[in-house]
Amino acid sequence: MLKEILGEVELFEGLSDDDLEQVAAISKERLIPRGDLLVREGDAGDELFIITDGFVEVLLETPRRVLVNLGTGQITGEMALVDGGPRSASLRAISDPTVVQVIHRSDFDKLCNDNARLGYIVFRNLAADLSFKLRDRNLRER
C-alpha cells in the first residue's frame, strides 16, 4: 500500500518496485492534528516530509504570512535535507488529520549511498521539484 502511494510521488518517479520498497522501509507515518506545527522556521532540520493526506501550509513567521498550501503527493522539508541549513519556513497542518510520511536524513543518505542509481534518480527528481516550486513562486509574484 505505502509502496503504491510513494509511486505517485514525483520524488520517486522512475524507481523500481524494489527501490520503492526500500524507500517505504525507511518511511514512518505521522498524523498531525489541525493547527500543529511539523517544523518551526529557524529550527535545525533533519527530516523530509511526504504529504499523503490533507494539507500543510508553508508560513513565514516575520512578517507572518502563508506562502502556499501543499497537498497530497507533495514533499516538503527538502531544503534542510539538501543543504543542512535551518528550516526556511514553518509548516503547519491545516487538515484534520494531516498524514505525512517522514524520512530521516541519515536513512535517506544511507539509502542513496548504498544504491547510487536510486540516489541519482531521487536527486534528479528533487531538482525537478525545486524547479517547479521556483516557477510556481515566480507565477505567484506576477
Binding site: 498550501n69 501543499l70 497537498g71 487538515s95 505567484r140
Partner: protein, 67 residues
Amino acid sequence: MAVYKISYVVIGSDHPGGIVNSNERPQVGDQVNIGDQVFETIEVFELMPPRKDFHYIHVTCQPHNPE
C-alpha cells in the same frame, strides 16, 4: 497512471493557493478544494514539459461563489 502536479494561484483573494497532485487533468470551470476553501478554475496551462507519467500544470482560480 498519469499524475498531474498542479500549481494553483488564486486571484481575487489573499488566499495563498497551493500545490496538489491529482490523477485528473484540471479543466476551466472545475471546482477545487485548496485547504478548506473552494475555488473555480479559470485558466490552465502546462508549466513544464511532462516527464513520463508526471505532468506539470499551472491553474489560475478564483473564489467560488455559488449563485
